[in-house]
């Protein structure tokens, strides 16, 4: 089982990247995608545009006696979709939400039951408190990929995530394996992101080119890999999927 966490600034396109990645990987592998954003919309485009019940929401509704079927939903091409969920806006603690959701999945034996080949964690990267660091702990993701554009705030968040991971380098935590450039058509974007990667000893493993097709597919509640499988943008995601598997299998960026 390969466990990958995709981090990045809120709104940078992590969920779009992760769900397209899941869709591309699902052609060869059994994939589980776990959304770790309180908005709980990570897997929406694998589920026909539907928002599904979250782990935390289900615990709140049904108490402790919940079953895996209540929180693991089968989406496009058999991708297993899970949303951690989050607190009521304005109150509660989103970090604890992730911790509780992970504990519940572990308690219910989600990995042992479904035996996915690949697990993708889609994680918000603006905040790096204990809860948001949970997916990179020993026993969870082994590999991290950071999604960024050339925008200043996106690079700032990417740097923050990379530093958080480096803080734990003496522990058995996940390591950053590469950068994914999700184009926003900022001036000198390639150069800016490549420089950031170089300064941190990383590589830009794939550029996801700007495409209107992403929006069109999402309007129909789909990934571009599903809606426009032969498009260039779908090819970007397929290429990203291949490279990630290659990197994770070798363990070297």
């Amino acid at each position: 089982m390969i466990k990958i966490a995709v981090y990045g600034k809120g709104g940078i396109g992590k969920s779009t990247t992760t769900s397209n990645l899941a869709a591309a990987l699902s052609k060869k592998y059994k994939v589980m995608q776990i959304g770790c954003d309180p908005k709980a919309d990570s897997t929406k485009n694998l589920m026909g545009g539907r928002k599904t019940s979250t782990v935390l929401g289900t615990i709140k509704e049904k108490g402790e006696d919940i079953r895996l079927e209540d929180i693991v939903h089968v989406g496009y091409n058999g991708v297993l979709c899970v949303e951690a969920g989050g607190p009521t806006p304005g109150i509660g603690c989103a970090g604890l939400g992730i911790i509780s959701a992970f504990q519940k999945l572990e308690e219910l034996g989600a990995f042992e039951t479904y035996k996915p080949d690949i697990v993708l964690y889609d994680v918000l990267g603006d905040v790096v408190c204990g809860g948001f660091a949970m997916p990179i702990r020993d026993g969870y993701a082994e590999h991290i990929f950071i999604v960024t554009s050339g925008e200043m705030m996106a690079l700032f968040a990417a740097d923050n995530i990379n530093r958080a991971v480096n803080n734990f380098k003496d522990r058995g935590y996940a390591r950053v394996r590469g950068i994914v450039l999700n184009e926003r058509l900022v001036e000198n974007e390639d150069q800016l992101v490549s420089q950031f990667a170089r300064e941190n000893g990383l590589n830009v493993i794939q550029t996801i080119h700007r495409s209107k097709m992403v929006q069109l597919a999402e309007d129909d509640g789909m990934t571009v890999v599903e809606k426009f499988p032969d498009s260039d943008i779908a090819q970007d995601y397929k290429s990203l999927a291949d490279k990630m598997i290659e990197i994770c299998s070798e363990g070297v960026a």
Binding site: E64, G95, Q103, G130, D138, F168, G172, Y173
Partner: protein, 413 residues
């Protein structure tokens, strides 16, 4: 059946085996609590009262530490503790509070690092998180699991038996221990260990007998690493259930032990008769401070002819769900009272001419007579029935001093 989840009333008799008392059962162990200064005062005072003062330290954290995270503070605190403590610590439990569940302290990673610095000491994590009490992993369960994870995986196991889940030793003259001894087998119990080395031998036994559900997770996790097997013998005072448990043990061991127990069975039956004659038709109240399965005990006692009127409980688990059905169908007049319901604070306080089994029932009913039984500890099999019955027989001979009984029994520590 489920009780209301609401505001709780905590009676002075709400007590029993808390994490300090349980973790401190491991010889040569020490407990470090990492928490805000006001946290766990109740436990600290109780620990002093019960003589655990020299086995516990506290590392206080403040608001700034919480905001910044305090992994390094825990490491420094352990360094300081180990330098200051004169007696050699073999196992250090580091307990964090529910606060750490919120901020996500990775205690396992912190202890792995510190373990490399002190290879002669076993470090185990603990979670003092009452908010987990209503989950499938309450502190008592995770503490026991953490305790068993301190046991080594032995290369080969011997043919002996370890009891898991009990905190007070089952007496050596118990019929099961006697029968096993007669068959050339040794019984290992946590409470009989006087050194840490002896504790580490608990996992040397090929066979385990699980006496309480709280130990199940720890035992199952232990068995994943070894070839050990176990069977259950949860607290029961029903002669048929006891016999069935012994049959299960015979199957597990592949040998006969029941023929050796005829005398114990006879003594238990005689004790039931004596207790019934002594207690007569006195109303009897059963509480979950006396037994893990109060409804099951109530049904058993009703079958023996006792006049069970009430059951006081905070939670009803496992076999008690079947017992509740039996009570509602066959004994609908028996009241089941939520012991921590806020209305318990405005109950009638006049003395009730009744016999309470367990301190919680004694306090809440202000009963004249009290059978001092706590969490089924020390009771097993036919001998357990006999001790329970003898306790009932003795209890109705004189008015109980409930305050004194509660002080001795202790709040949760």
């Amino acid at each position: 059946m489920k009780f209301d989840g609401n505001l709780c009333y905590c009676s002075p008799a709400h007590g029993g085996w808390g994490i300090i008392r349980v973790a401190a059962l491991i010889p040569e162990s020490y407990l470090l609590f990492v928490c805000p200064a006001a946290c766990f005062r109740h436990g600290a005072l109780g620990a002093i009262q019960h003589g655990y003062k020299n086995r516990i330290s506290y590392l206080y954290i403040d608001q700034e530490d919480i905001v910044e995270g305090y992994d390094s503070l825990i490491e420094d605190g352990i360094d300081e503790l180990l330098q200051r403590t004169k007696e050699k610590i073999k196992l250090l439990f580091v307990y964090v509070s529910c606060l750490d569940d919120f901020i996500g302290t990775d205690l396992d990673a912190v202890l792995e690092k510190i373990g490399k610095k002190y290879p002669d000491i076993v470090f185990r994590p603990g979670h003092m998180n009452p908010i987990a009490s209503s989950t499938k992993l309450p502190p008592a369960v995770t503490t026991y699991d953490s305790m068993l994870k301190a046991l080594p995986v032995h290369e080969s196991l011997d043919e002996n038996i370890t009891f898991y889940g009990n905190f007070v030793g089952i007496p050596e003259d118990n019929e099961l221990i006697t029968a096993l001894k007669n068959a050339g087998k040794k019984v290992r119990q946590l409470s009989n260990c006087s050194t840490f080395e002896e504790y580490r031998e608990l996992s040397l036994s090929k066979y385990g007998i699980l006496l309480k559900p709280l130990a199940r997770l720890g035992l199952v996790n232990l068995e994943k690493k070894t070839e050990a097997v176990h069977c259950n013998m949860f607290a029961s005072y029903d002669m048929d259930i006891i016999k069935k448990s012994y049959e299960d043990i015979e199957k597990m061991l592949g040998m006969q032990i029941i023929p050796d127990m005829a005398m114990a069975e006879k003594k238990a039956l005689k004790a039931i008769k004596n207790a019934k004659e002594a207690v007569k038709d006195l109303p009897v109240y059963v509480s979950d401070s006396a037994t893990v399965f109060p409804c099951s005990l109530a049904v058993t006692l009703l079958k023996y002819g006792f006049n069970i009127k009430r059951i006081y409980a905070v939670d009803l688990v496992g076999p008690d769900q079947d017992a509740i059905r039996e009570l509602s169908e066959q004994y609908p007049d028996v009241e089941i009272i939520q012991a921590d319901h806020p209305k318990m604070n405005i109950r009638e306080r006049n003395e009730s001419y009744a016999l309470a089994i367990g301190e919680e029932a004694a306090y809440l009913s202000n009963s004249r007579f009290v059978a001092d039984i706590s969490a089924d500890e020390g009771l097993l099999g036919y001998q357990g029935v006999m001790i329970l019955m003898d306790t009932l027989t003795e209890a109705v001979k004189e008015k109980a001093d409930i305050r004194k009984l509660i002080e001795e029994y202790g709040g949760i520590v």
